[in-house]
Amino acid sequence: MEDTRIVDLFLARDEGGIREAADKYGNRLRQLGFHLLPDRLTVEECENDAYLAAWDSIPPHQPRDYLFPFLARLMRHKVLDQCRARRRRNEIARLTALTRELEDCIPGPDPTQELVDGMALGAALNAFLKALPEEPRNIFLRRYWFFDPVGDIARRYGLTQSKVKTTLFRTRQGLRDHLTKEGFTV
């Protein structure tokens, strides 16, 4: 079913919209979950929560032309929450690997104190990513937005793993410089 039609079902408070969304995007949402959470029950719980959150936010939102990113964002949020709440060995190892990489991008010397305005940071990230060429941008988003393992990214784009790692490293350096320029320092 077309995304527009699915969103219309949500807007009409028709629960069939959830079923259609699950039918069309459930697999991809679960795949995102499985990158950080190994057990099926929790991933399904996140998926269900994501649909519920979508139900609660359409309306006012009407993501007719960005339904998948919209659902994936809700899913990603739930997955990160679950992952942090659960604190089990494997999940934490996967999350820690991601945050450790992103520490490269932190401009200031003291990473503990400063309160960060999420929206402002989001705007700075958007500006940075939009200015990037498509390939490094996609690689960066596959890694830190979809939590793909490096090996998967390499296969997806037909690159070697070291090429992916180098691209990610350069993008992180670039992001750090950009954030510093934007005043995100301690």
Partner: protein, 486 residues
């Protein structure tokens, strides 16, 4: 600012950029899996019999009676979507969700155990896999690591001194207290009886009516191991019948042939029985229309058997000498299917440290790739009965088998020279199509669009292979070697 802030703020990235990154880089035709019913059933039982060099037995009472009964946790049933359909055929989401939430709360309570509760067991799992699955020749082998763990744990409670220490050493525990904590957590994490999945570890003690037992030990066993105790006349037909009935009840009759052979001698002081019964539905089921006969290459020549077939987008795992896939059981664990590479035998694979690691990894494995897996596997029904004594002795448990050194004082101080004279383990794992009638609710729960596959692989289990069935909490409930699928 923390790296976590960055990770969070990435959610504000423009959806258009996310959509671009989500686009598959190359297009290949998508396949939709078909969903029909199928069930996996498995059961195992361990019987450890302790006898004494003592002429016991009196023909007084012949009725077995329970002296302590274990109480299992109550669980809300899993709500079948089929029961929540409105007149127009739509799902009544609110009503279903209310029941689902109650089910999930109970399920979560069972699964939420203290962090690291299952640590220390890796050595035991690895040693017992090699010990009890290796060297089987051309026969099927199957056993339950978790079931044997509970039998050994209870034996540790009944013993002291070196007899107990040898068991604690094998199970990787410092003390009987840490073992108790772990056993209780393991039992609960693996308990499920919600109508959709049945996974029950049951234990019982069969006590000689002429022997006074230490009540506090029996209480500990009831509390920690959920073990019921029965007392009666050893060697009597009634007491044997009661034990056999208990075993059949706990294992859904799957082990009837083995259970009916269990008989206790009059000099038996105590028999310890542990069982595990597991029944679940595939999350993504096979379509029986795709099942067709084909050749399976057993070590003794080719046989024809029914192969179930399915293509799905799932993880494919590999090592130096094997490849593997996992089939998820709805709302529960996974059946891991491990195929040795051509020219590598099952025994060679069992001796390979990398393969051992995989068997116990529950899918936490670096060498994996999501792709279209064309799975072709024989329907199988494997069962095996084995004498555990030699294997346990090889793993360092010796004193309990020797009346000269065994120490059973926590159990009774009235009888000397008790030893374990019999240790039997029977297990059976069946993968069949009996769950067909229950297919309706799984169909709705499991439906989902397949992502366009980027790659494809055929995974054909047409020669001897290994399997491990993990429960929802990730521990190995069953492990086996399939040499003859029939």
């Amino acid at each position: 600012m923390k790296a976590d802030d960055l990770l969070n703020s990435l959610e504000h990235v423009d959806p258009e950029l996310v959509a671009q990154a989500a686009k598959p880089p190359k297009k290949t035709p998508s396949r939709r899996p078909l969903w029909v019913g199928l069930t996996a059933v498995a059961a195992a039982a361990s019987i450890l019999v302790g006898i004494a060099l003592w002429p016991g037995g009196s023909p007084a009472v012949t009725q077995a009676f329970a002296v302590a009964a274990a109480e299992y946790p109550e669980m809300a049933p899993y709500p079948s979507e089929a029961d929540y359909l409105k007149a127009n055929g739509d799902l009544d989401m609110d009503a279903w969700r209310a029941c689902y939430d109650a089910w999930w709360a109970d399920r979560k309570a069972q699964l939420d155990q203290p962090e690291g509760y299952d640590s220390g067991l890796e050595g035991y799992y690895a040693a017992s896999l090699v010990q009890f699955l290796g060297g089987g020749g051309t026969e099927n082998r199957v056993y339950s690591p978790l079931n044997l763990y509970f039998a050994l744990g209870m034996l540790a409670e009944l013993t002291d001194g070196d007899s107990r220490q040898q068991i604690l050493d094998l199970l990787g525990q410092d003390s009987i207290e840490t073992l108790r904590t772990q056993a209780r957590a393991l039992w609960n994490a693996n308990y499920c009886d919600d109508g959709a999945v049945t996974s029950v570890l049951a234990s019982s003690l069969w006590l000689n009516q002429d022997v006074p037992f230490v009540q506090s030990t029996l209480d500990t066993l009831a509390d920690t191991y959920y073990a019921s105790s029965y007392q009666g006349e050893m060697g009597s037909a009634e007491f044997n019948q009661a034990l056999q009935t208990w075993l059949n009840d706990q294992t859904g009759g799957l082990l009837k042939e083995s259970a009916d052979q269990i008989k206790l001698d009059p000099e038996t002081v105590l028999a310890l029985a542990t069982t595990v019964y597991y029944r679940g539905r595939w999350a993504q089921e096979f379509n029986p229309d795709n099942t067709a006969p084909d050749l399976f290459h057993t070590p003794e020549g080719d046989v024809t058997c029914d192969f179930m077939r399915q293509s799905s987008n799932s993880a494919y795992y590999w090592g130096e000498r094997f490849s593997a896939v996992g089939k998820t059981v709805e709302s529960s664990g996974t059946l891991w299917l491990i195929l040795p590479d051509e020219g590598v035998s099952v025994d060679q694979l069992l001796a390979d440290p990398e393969a051992q690691d995989f068997l116990l990894s529950n899918g936490d494995w670096d060498n994996q790739k999501h792709l279209t897996v064309n799975l072709s596997m024989p329907k199988f029904d494997v069962s095996g009965q084995m004498d555990l004594i030699e294997g346990l002795q090889a793993m360092g448990i010796t004193d309990v088998f020797d009346p000269a050194v065994s120490d059973f004082t926590p159990m009774t101080t009235e009888v000397d020279e008790i030893y374990v004279s019999q240790a039997t383990h029977a297990a059976r794992v069946m993968v069949d199509e009996e769950g067909l009638t229950a297919a309706a609710f799984t169909v709705l729960a499991a439906a989902g669009g397949a992502m366009p596959p980027e790659d494809e692989v055929d995974f054909t289990l047409d020669r001897p292979f290994l399997f491990v069935l993990t429960g929802a909490a990730g521990q190995p409930l069953f492990a086996g070697v399939v040499n003859q699928p029939g």
